[in-house]
Each structure stands twice: as C-alpha cells, then as structure tokens.
C-alpha cells in the first residue's frame, strides 16, 4: 500500500459521488441501494480518514498542503483548490465520517417510510452535507473552508426543509440559512481583510505572516471570524436557528448537532488559533459570549418539553462551553469537547429519534414516561449519554468538561463559577428529560402505547457503538493529575497549537486545586442529577400555565420575539416603504415626472401658437427688441 495521502482527495469525493448517484438517479435507485450508496461512501471516507489518522499518528505529517488545481489564479490573488491534512483536520475527519457513517446507517431505518425517490434524495442531501463538512475541514485556505462553510449551511437548509410541504418547516429552514448567512458575511469580511492585508488566504502563509498584522487588523479579523462562528455554531446572538432546526428529520439533527455544522465554528477558531492568541480582546469576547450562551441556553432548556428542543438547547449550551474553552486559550480542550460531545450528542439525538420513532412522531416528553420497559437498548444508551453530558466520571464528558473548567479557572475563577452553574443546570435538565421519558408511568394515548417497541437493528447498533464511545471516549484525554502523559489528544494536536502555546505561559494549577475543582463540579452536578431524578420520575401531567420566570424560560426569554420586533419587522417595513412609496412615487415618480413635465410644457407652450397673426407679429417684434437690446446694449 502506497502513501495513503495520495488518496486524501477521495475523502470528500466519495460522499460527493454518493450525492451525485443518489441525486441524479433518485428515480432509478431502490431504497436499499440508496442506503448502501449513502452509507457506503461515507464508510469509505471513514476508512481512508482512519488510515490517514494512523499515518499522522505515526508521525508522518505531510509538510505542504495537497494542491489539486487552481481555483483562482490571477496576479493579485492565488487560491488553490488545496487540502491540508494535519492532526486537527484528522481528528475532525474521524468525527465527521465516523459519526456521520453511524447516522447514515441509522437513517436507513429511520427514514424507511419515505417514498423511494425522497429516500434517495434524503441520502443525497446527507452525503452532500458530509461532503461540505469535509471540504470545510480539509481546505488548506479560508476560501475552501468558506465553500464548505456555506455548503453545510445550504445542506442544513435543504434537510431542515426536507418535508417541504409543511410551511413551518420551510420557515425554520429559511431561518437557519439566513442566520448562517449573517455569520457567513462576517467570515467573508474576515477573509477579505486577510486577503487585503496579506494577499492570500492560505493557512500556512497567513499563520506564518501573522506578526506583520497590526493589533487592529488581528482583532478585526478575529472578531469577524467569530461572527461567522456565532452563526454556524449557534452562539449569542445568532443561536435561535438551531432549536428551530429540529424541524428536520431527527438523524439530520444528530448530524447537525454532533458531527457537522455546529462544530465548524470551533474548528475554524481552533484552526486559526494563532490569530486568536494574538488578539486577547477577541479572546475575552469569545469567552464571555461562549459562557453567556452556555448559561442562557441551559436556562431555556430547563423548561422545554419537546425532547428535541431540550437536546437542541443543550447543544447550544455545550457549544458555549467549547467557546469558553477557545476563549481561555484551551484549544485542545475545545477540540476534545467537540469530540466527546459528538459522541454523546449524536447518541442522545439518535436515542431521541428512536423514542420518537417508537412514539409515532410524538415529541412532547409530558406525553411520554416509562419507556424504560419497552425499549431497553435505547434506554440504557440514553442514560449513558446523559451521564456523559452531565459530566459524571468516568464518562467522556467528565474529562472534556473538566479540562475546560480547569482552564477557565486558571484564567478567571469567576468564569469557572458560572461554568459550574451551567454544569449543574445541564445535569438537571438532562435528567429531567431522562426521567420524564423513561421513568414513571406512560402518559401517552393507548394507541401509542400499543405501538411501543424497540427499534430495529439499524437503529440500535449505532446507538450501542456511540454509547461505547461516549463512555470511553474521554480516555484519550486523561488529565495530567490522573496520569502523566495520559492526554494523548493533546500530544497529538500539539503541532497545530504549537505557535499559540509558545506565546502563552501555562497556568499550571496545583493538583490539589484541580482535585478540588473536579470535586466541586461533580458533586454539584450529582446533586442536581439526583434532585431531577427524584422530582421527575414521578411526574404527572398537569395542565397549568407557567408563570413568572418559568414562563419567560419556557418562551426562550422571548428572544425570537425580540428579534422579530427590532430587526425583521423594521426591515420589512422599510422594504415595503421602498417598494410601495419610494420607488413608485420617488424615483420612478421623478422619471415619469420629467415626462409629465414635458407634456405639460408642451400643452402650455402650444398656446403661444394662438392662430392670431397679430400676436405672431408681436412676438416677432418683441424678439427683435430683445435681440437689439442684447446686441447693442449688452
């Protein structure tokens, strides 16, 4: 076997092929074929990614990006269609293709009720999604990244609005795309800024020449990039699309939330870590925004009753943690959390999907309960995922979250304090969810109860695999306190962050402090866990209006309404004014007014032609007088 790097181009091309086959031949391929093509291509990518990862792990790192062809090649700007393979992209490749593959497999069962051509279309979209994400991760410059960046936005649009007959879904899809585009604009401006200052968008050149940029430039660029990340990774203020994106099929939610899309922002900041390291102001902003998002989303999640909504807000919240990590300079921590989060969040969504599947589309947890006895695999895997996300040791979430909190503490204990508060809420709402879904008595209709069943293999097997990963996934990053050299991930990623690490002095917390921090956060989370378990395992449905803070939380702090009032409505009003009044009466009115003036002038001036010879002669004489005066006296 030759150098695996020569096959790197296959990683994105395979899903693209899958997309083309399924997309163009969607009327011809059978459901089975579509599923096999869809999953198989991603599996192929995964295998290659794994081989690439192993090559990298063995220390064989390619020095230069792989150049395929010129995308733009003019004197002032050269942008190649280049792929860059390094530890960071390798980790992401594995997450994307690995988790993506599992979701594909899962989808074959989940989407089985669709018409064959819609089924094929669905897989085509999924493949395109994976393709875009791979492009995003593998691109060796910001332009290729942007191509993937917009591509995932498009795919999310297509998939969220997959059931296009329902207008609400379409609106959600549109919202996702537009919110993303707002972020994309920031990203684009940042890229332009880079191009205008450095004349290139290649990572290598940019990062090598970063010292030639002024502080203003770097701060501006990083801020704008962060705006892009806000859109894609659902941070305040651009997070509202993500919960709405639940409109799509559940595996899509899993794909968006776990493996692709939302992690793009993290990847991008991690990729350009040196820029952020050199822009402390932006770092502060990133940390604060991340933390605020984490808390805000967590509070909202406390009061949601839609199983997917809870999970959605939990994603937003977890993403907040990741940004907190990025903000405090713990890039490895962020990537680590991306990874563990990918496992348990995919698991949670797929589990939720399994539940919804069993409940025939019911998503309100108030109508569930007691599912434990009907679907044991789903139940157990779901529980493991909940423990992982709540940060219970030794599940994966514990390690990654702990690393982030520790880094935050090192930066500022206040950050840590708020972070722990978020962790407590996480534990609470996750177990509220768990308890209301699986414990207690079934609260749904009889018909639903009759249909309750464990899901087919294609669903449960991915669940099991993900559950295993959720449990042991944290072991690649065992902190220093437990085991020297246990943080394999950090070592693996070190070359990527080397430049940043060189610039920052490490705050080494004492072991005692670290144990203390862990103890406090775990204990607090555990307390919340127990409280939620005990409170909601005996939940009875009561019809009562939420009041006070509860109502505010249930209504997501009225953020959507706020946006509607201060942005959407004024813009539409302005558009309406332009369309109905300014365009017609103003500009076109002026243009037509010229025509009307000519007409009016014509009507008036022709009255001079009165038909009376006397007046004609008089005019002539007056003209004569005028001419004499001009010629003789002026």
């Amino acid at each position: 076997m030759g150098n695996i790097f020569q096959l790197v181009w296959l990683i994105p091309v395979l899903p693209l092929l899958g997309f083309l086959i399924n997309g163009l031949g969607r009327k011809q391929v059978s459901k089975t074929m579509a599923g096999i093509i869809g999953s198989g291509t991603v599996l192929g990518s995964f295998v290659i990614s794994l081989l690439v990862f192993m090559q990298l792990n063995s220390g064989n790192v390619p020095a230069a990006p792989f150049h395929y062809f010129d995308f733009i090649n003019i004197t002032a700007l050269k942008i190649g269609f280049d792929f860059q393979i390094d530890p960071l992209s390798a980790v992401f490749l594995l997450i994307i293709t690995g988790v993506g593959f599992l979701i594909h497999v899962y989808s074959t069962a989940y989407m089985h009720d669709e018409e064959p051509k819609d089924f094929a279309k669905y897989f085509a979209y999924l493949n395109l999604f994976v393709f875009s994400m791979l492009l995003l991760v593998m691109g060796a410059n910001f332009v290729i990244m942007f191509i993937g960046w917009e591509g995932v936005g498009l795919c999310s649009y297509l998939l969220i609005g997959f059931w296009f007959k329902n207008n609400n879904y379409n609106i959600a899809a549109k919202k996702a795309f537009i919110m993303n585009r707002i972020g994309d604009l920031g990203f684009l401006l940042a890229v332009f800024w880079l191009i205008s200052k450095l004349g290139t968008a290649d990572y290598q050149t940019v990062f090598a020449n970063v010292s030639t940029l002024t502080v203003t430039d770097i701060t501006g660029i990083t801020m704008l990039l962060f705006v892009g990340a806000m859109g894609k990774s659902a941070q305040i203020p651009l997070y509202t699309w993500l919960p709405d994106a639940m409109a799509g099929p559940t595996p899509v939610s899993a794909l968006i939330h776990a493996a692709t899309m939302v992690t793009a922002g993290i990847y991008m900041i991690a990729r350009s870590n040196i820029l952020y390291t050199m822009a402390p102001v932006t770092q502060g902003v990133v940390a604060i925004v991340g933390l605020s998002t984490a808390i805000l989303a967590a509070t909202i999640a406390l009061k949601q009753n839609d199983i997917k909504k809870v999970l959605a807000y939990s994603t937003v919240s977890q993403l907040g943690y990741m940004f907190l990590a990025l903000g405090v300079g713990a890039y490895t921590g962020a990537v680590f959390h991306v990874m563990t989060h990918a496992f348990f969040k995919a698991l949670l969504f797929l589990g939720a999907g399994s539940v919804i599947h069993a409940m025939s589309g019911e998503q309100d947890i108030r109508n569930m309960g007691g599912l434990k006895k009907y679907m044991s695999i789903t139940h157990i895997t779901f529980l493991l995922a909940c423990l992982a996300i709540a940060g219970m040791p030794p599940f994966s979430g514990f390690f990654s979250k702990d690393e982030i909190l520790a880094a935050a503490f090192a930066k500022n204990p206040l950050l840590w304090g708020v972070g722990v508060a978020g962790a407590i809420m996480t534990a609470f709402y996750m177990f509220r969810l768990y308890a209301m879904t699986f414990l207690g008595k079934f609260r749904g209709t009889h018909e639903q109860e009759h249909h309750l069943h464990e899901s087919p293999k294609a669903i449960t097997i991915p669940l099991i695999i993900l559950a295993i990963l959720s449990v042991i996934g944290g072991l690649v990053g065992i902190p220093e306190v437990f085991m020297h050299g246990g943080h394999r991930l950090e070592a693996f990623l070190a070359p990527v962050f080397a430049q940043s690490n060189a610039l920052t002095e490490k705050h080494h917390l004492s072991h005692a402090t670290e144990y203390m921090l862990m103890g406090v956060s775990v204990a607090a989370a555990l307390a919340a866990l127990v409280f939620a378990w005990s409170k909601f395992s005996k939940y009875q449905k009561v019809e009562k209006e939420e009041t006070g803070l509860g109502k505010v939380l249930a209504n997501k702090w009225y953020v959507d309404e706020l946006y509607d009032t201060i942005i959407v409505k004024p813009v539409l009003a302005l558009a309406k004014y332009f369309n109905n009044i300014f365009e017609k009466k103003g500009i076109d009115g002026f243009v037509n007014g010229v025509g009307k003036a000519v007409n009016y002038g014509s009507r008036q001036i022709r009255l001079l032609q009165s038909g009376q010879v006397g007046i004609y002669v008089l005019m002539m004489v007056l003209g004569m007088l005028l001419f004499f005066i001009i010629q003789l006296f002026l």
């Binding site: 062809f69 332009v143 960046w149 296009f164 007959k165 379409n170 332009f192």
Partner: protein, 494 residues
C-alpha cells in the same frame, strides 16, 4: 504572418448574425424560421468557440483584429478587435442566443420571421458593441443593439408594453446622446490620425489630452449613459417595467447580455480614459451602487411579481459589479469579468423557469403560486440550483465573481464591503422567500395542473446548470481569457 485572411473572427461574429437576421425576415414559415434561428445561432456559437481557441493575440493577431477605412477623413475606421474581455462577452452572447431560442422554441409569435430577424439583429449589434475598437463604431453598435430590442419589446410584449418599453428606449437614448456629446468632446482632444486632425480609434482616445476639469464632467456624460444601461441606482426604474412587459426571450437578452453592455463599456471606455476622474468620483459611484444593492434587495423582498422580482435582484447584482469596477483593483475587475459571464448564464436560467411557470399557470404572482416542487420536481431542482447560483453560493459560478468583487470592494473600503455585504443576507432572504412561496407548501388551484418541463427546456437548463457548476469549480479558464485585459486596464489606471 498570413495577412490575406479574407474575414476575421470579429467580422464573422457581427456579419453572420446580421445576415442570418436578414434571411430570417424572408422566411415565412414559423417552424422554418425557428429552426433557422437556432441553427444560425449555433453556428455563431461555433465561430465564437473557435475564436476563443485562437484567443492568443500574440500569435493570432490577424485573426482577431481587423480595421478598414470607414469615415477616414474623420479619423474613424471600422476597427474591430477581440481582446480578453471581448472574447468573454462575445462568447456569452453566442452562448445565450441558442439557449434562448431553444428554450422558447414552444412559444409561438405573431409574424415569427420579424421576431427572429430582430433577435438576430440584436445579437449582431451586441457583438459589435463588444468588439468595437473605435469609439464611433462602438457608439453605432451601442445604439443599434437597442433599436431591434425596442421593437421586440414593443411589438411582442405584455399589456403595457408600449409605454414601458418606450420609457426604456427614451431613457437609454437620452443617456447615449449625452455620451455622444462626450465622445465628440473627447474626439476633439485626440491627436491627429493618418487622414484627419483627430481620431476615434481606441488608442487615440486613451491618449486624449484633457485637463482634469474636463475629465471630471466628461466622466459623468459617459457614466450616466452606462449607468442607465446597467442600470445603477437611481437610474434603474425603467428596468422592472421593461422586464415585466417584454417577451421573455427578449427579456433574457436584455438582462443576460444587454445590461453587460453598460458594465463592459465602463471598463473599456471609462477606466482607461478618465483614470483621475474615476479616482475622484469612485466614492460617489460606489456609494450609489451600494445603496442600490441594498435598496433593490429590499424591494425584491416585497415583490409579488416574479418578473419584477428577478429584475430587482438583477439590479442588486449589477450594483455590485459597478461598485467593484470602481475599486480599480485587479481582484475586483477580474471578479466583474467573470461575473458578467456568470450573471448572464444565471439570469437566463431564471427567466426560463419564470417563463415556464407563467406559461403553465398563467400568473406571475408569487402569492398565487405554491407547491410546484411537488408537481414538477425537476423544474424545482433547476430553479433552486439557479436561484442559489444567483445568490452566489460557493461552487456555483457566481460565487467566484462575487467573492472577488467583494474582496476588491473590501480593499477599497471596509465599510462599503460591510454594507454591501448585507445584500448577501438580503439576497438569501428574498430568494428563499420566493422559493418557499412558489415551490414549497401545498399545491393550490393555480399550480394543480402544472406539468414537468419539456425536453428542450430540460436540455437548456441542463446546459446552464452544467456551466454553473463547471465554472463554479474551475473558474480558471475564464480568468485566463480575461487576465491580460484586466492587467492592461490596471496598468492604465496607474
């Protein structure tokens, strides 16, 4: 070097459509004339492709440039030439016409011979504009391209066609007359030529001796003419009306190619001739363009008529091109070049779909449509692809152009790029709104009986979509065509 070539590419590109158009007038049978139009436009396309193969002027100069005596004693010769930009735009013209003819093949016109004859004459005029290397020749073709278009719109258009297209005509005519004054003034300040005191040839015009003050007002005479044609805010109001009223195939020509005349002309005749004035007024022009982008995008959001919708979105896109030209950066200009081509392709695709919908449902009201995706998925896919290309999604052709144009704009000034960038968001808003309202949701009474598209249309749209993706992924061939032109202009600007 072989100088005995009896006819060159630019001549062929002009005379062949002209001749074909005159022949078309003679053909009485509708089917025959339709096929003749398709055939002749395909031949023109062939000529254009061959000309691009021989695009290298350093090797094949005699094939791409021709000059013969015309108004010699005025210093004007009938000089035609194909440089990179000329190749690009003649190619666009050559590509667009067969596509238009094939796509609208089903439409039957009263006195079809006149219709197709005029269409081909328009093509000839457009080719002339893009190949003219003499300012007077340019002006000739500039007007001549509009006349047949005017007749087309007024004769075969919608209900309010006479008013609307007359507004269009008078508007552009006024602009070009102002330009004529500028041309003459410029001419009077050129150096002597072989047979006259002054000269209209491009090089002489480029070398005209003018004081800065003169350049300043001459700039506006030219710019207003071109701004009307493009059109740039606030000279745009003829456009929605005309697009709405004109027969669709003519609208395709108008929006796909004719608006490029304005963009083209700014690059060819304003930038190199008035570099100082360009620098002096760049803020005004870019400001207007940016305002226009946002303004038109906002209006597009509220449009209920599909044709007007496309018209306003086109205004927004053209605004960006105009702004990018005035950044005077290589990236921006190169972006404009490629975008001229891309925009032509995309908007023709948009019109084809709009036409299909109108023909089948009898309405263009967005609010009355809905659920077409369900009834005609292929049509929907084409439209979605084209619409997304229109809003410059990556890996479609428009992305490359818009990316570079924004990049150029950014280099010029951060805030322009930032404000103009809002149009990216607004473009997403209006396009998705339209897609949602027209294609998604449940089918209603109007869209109930909509059929899938015919083979012809499928063919044309496929060609368009293939081009959209091809040049979205491999734009480099287009850059190679226009590279030298852009560099030439940039050097002139410095």
């Amino acid at each position: 070097m072989n100088q005995n070539i009896w006819i060159t590419f630019p001549e062929l590109l002009i005379w062949f459509p002209l001749l074909a158009g005159l022949v078309a007038f003679m053909i009485r049978k509708e089917n025959v004339v339709k096929n003749w139009a398709i055939l002749s436009s395909l031949i023109t396309l062939g000529i254009s492709i061959v000309s691009i193969v021989y695009a290298d002027n350093s090797k094949h100069f005699y094939l791409n440039n021709v000059s013969y005596f015309w108004l010699r004693y005025l210093g004007s010769n009938f000089t035609l030439g194909l440089d990179g930009m000329g190749h690009m735009l003649t190619a666009l013209t050559a590509v667009a016409f067969p596509l238009i003819f094939i796509a609208t093949n089903r439409t039957s016109y009263k006195s079809a011979n006149a219709f197709y004859g005029l269409m081909l004459l328009t093509q000839s005029g457009l080719m002339g504009v893009f190949t003219a290397m003499d300012l007077l020749v340019f002006y000739f073709f500039w007007e001549l391209a509009v006349i047949p278009a005017y007749f087309l719109c007024s004769r075969w258009g919608g209900e309010r066609r006479i008013q609307a297209t007359f507004k269009f005509f008078v508007y552009t005519f006024t602009g070009s007359l102002l330009m004529l004054v500028g041309i003459i003034y410029l001419y009077m300040h050129t150096g002597p030529s072989a047979n006259a005191d002054h000269s209209f040839s491009m090089n002489a015009i480029y070398a005209a001796m003018l004081s800065p003050a003169e350049k300043n007002w001459l700039f506006w005479l030219f710019f207003i003419a071109f701004a009307i044609k493009m059109p740039v805010f606030p000279f745009h109001t003829w456009q929605p009306d005309t697009y709405e009223q004109a027969p669709t195939s003519t609208t395709m020509v108008l929006s796909g190619i004719m608006v490029k005349m304005g963009v083209f002309a700014v690059i060819r005749w304003i930038l190199p001739v008035f570099p100082d004035a360009v620098t002096r007024f760049d803020n005004i022009v870019i400001g207007l363009s940016v305002i226009g982008m946002i303004y038109a995008s906002l209006i597009a959001i509220k449009q209920d008529d599909l044709k007007r919708f496309v018209a306003y979105s086109s205004i927004a896109h053209i605004g960006l091109m105009c702004a990018a030209i005035f950044t005077k950066s290589e990236i921006g200009l190169q972006g404009v070049m490629i975008q001229m081509f891309s925009h032509g392709i995309n908007i023709i695709g948009m019109w084809i779909v709009v036409d299909l919908i109108e023909k089948q449902t009898g309405t263009r009201k967005i609010s009355e449509l809905g659920g077409i995706a369900h009834k005609a998925p292929v049509l929907t896919i084409f439209l979605v692809v084209i619409a997304l290309a229109n809003i410059a999604l990556p890996l479609t052709n428009a992305f490359v152009g818009e990316f570079m144009m924004f990049s150029g704009l950014f280099t010029f000034n951060f805030w322009y790029a930032a404000v103009a960038g809002l149009s990216i968001i607004l473009a997403a808003v209006y396009t998705l709104n339209m897609i949602q309202k027209v294609f998604y949701g449940e089918a209603n009474g109007v869209t109930e009986k909509i059929q899938e598209i015919s083979f012809n249309q499928k063919l044309v749209l496929t060609v368009l979509v293939v081009m959209i993706f091809f040049f979205g992924v491999f734009p480099q061939p287009l850059f190679d065509v226009t590279k030298d032109t852009v560099l030439n202009i940039i050097t002139r600007l410095k």
